[in-house]
Symmetry: C2
Subunit: 225 residues, 2 copies
């Protein structure tokens, strides 16, 4: 269907090809607008349109006065599975916990197999942070998410870290729906996961994560009562 | 961070809010450009920019001469996890099979629990289609994907159907990497899944899907030998 693409779309494709060919990474700077105009032989307007298109797909980021850069989490939106457009949020949150129960125990197991002592310490620090925020009565959503994201990073999988925005939305909607404050259980099960990672025990990590998610699922079904 | 958004971004947010509020579905038409200008009190240029932004996020689709519509698979790109930007495709394909092994057996189990006899027939038809293409020596990727997508639809989960583009990319990259033609095994295991769905047997469906994916994983590791 190449022929049905507009000039802007083809230019966007060429910029993507350039990123891949030059092996640009998150945060790397692209050539300037005039350089891109020359390189791709198109007008300034077309470059700007293409860059806008790629910005809304989270591939590029324009920092005004400073240039065009490759975005963090290149090509992954903050809502990759379109949850915004799913109406039945209660069922979605429940289906999301099922999804997490299928995937996250394995993520924890792989993290336990792979993590260096230094990385286990980083994970432990994130668990401490959740606890500290809890003690101070502050929101722990961001810190909680970072804990689960970190496990994805440590898993060594190329796919698991990219599930982070899905898991984040899962945690976020769960908390909104249950109006739940952090419970002692979350702190304990995070701690159990950290200990398993420190001991390089994948089975204990898997079990601790599963227990954590089952506990959340139960809290959700108690909402119905 | 609302204040840091541009007028175009805020307009795009308002269009999203309109879609949600009016409960517009895939394929529904939005108000015309002049109507949107009036409704959101912005210029034609701003509307156009916002619509372009939402098009590249697969939320809207402009059909020239006909209007602005809500996209199919609203808000889900064809590469939701940014696989394009992952360099080590071989490891990615392997990590994708692991992901599918975690998720798809459950999808098959739920499909077996939920599918009506008519839906089981539709699934059976898709399995026949894969076989027919195989017999004719034609590409079966699209049909194979539709088979796995259909299971997601039948699962009754709000999340599983949205994994379709991820599973599609998985099948696609697997076939590219292994240069593999469809094997007798695929036809047999699809058939086993269909039979389990027809019998409403979730355990048999789960086992058949797991066997199918393990077989694929083995083929991938044989590539190394």
């Amino acid at each position: 269907m190449e022929e049905s693409k507009t000039l802007t779309e083809r230019t966007a494709d060429e910029i993507i090809a350039y990123i891949l060919q030059e092996e640009l990474k998150e945060g790397d700077r692209l050539p300037s607008e005039p350089e891109l105009m020359k390189l791709l032989d198109v007008s300034r307007t077309t470059i700007r349109e293409a860059v806008k298109m790629l910005s809304s797909r989270n591939i590029l980021e324009v920092r005004h006065g400073s240039g065009i850069f490759v975005s963090q989490n290149t090509g992954i939106s903050d809502d990759p599975l379109g949850f915004l457009f799913i109406k039945d949020k209660k069922k979605l949150v429940s289906d999301l916990i099922e999804f997490r129960m299928l995937v996250e125990p394995r993520i924890a197991a792989r993290a336990a197999m792979n993590a260096t002592p230094k990385q286990a310490e980083e994970l432990s620090f994130l668990a401490d942070e959740v606890e500290r925020l809890y003690d101070q009565g502050l929101s722990h959503i961001a810190a909680d998410t970072r804990f689960h994201e970190k496990l994805g990073e440590l898993s060594g999988s190329l796919l698991f870290p990219n599930l982070a925005p899905i898991i984040f939305r899962g945690i976020n909607m769960f908390i909104e729906l249950t109006h739940s404050k952090l419970k002692e259980e979350t702190i304990q099960s995070h701690r159990a996961i950290v200990n398993a990672v420190k001991k390089k025990d994948p089975v204990a990590a898997e079990d601790a994560m599963m227990l954590h998610l089952i506990y959340n699922r139960n809290r959700l079904s108690q909402e119905d009562e």
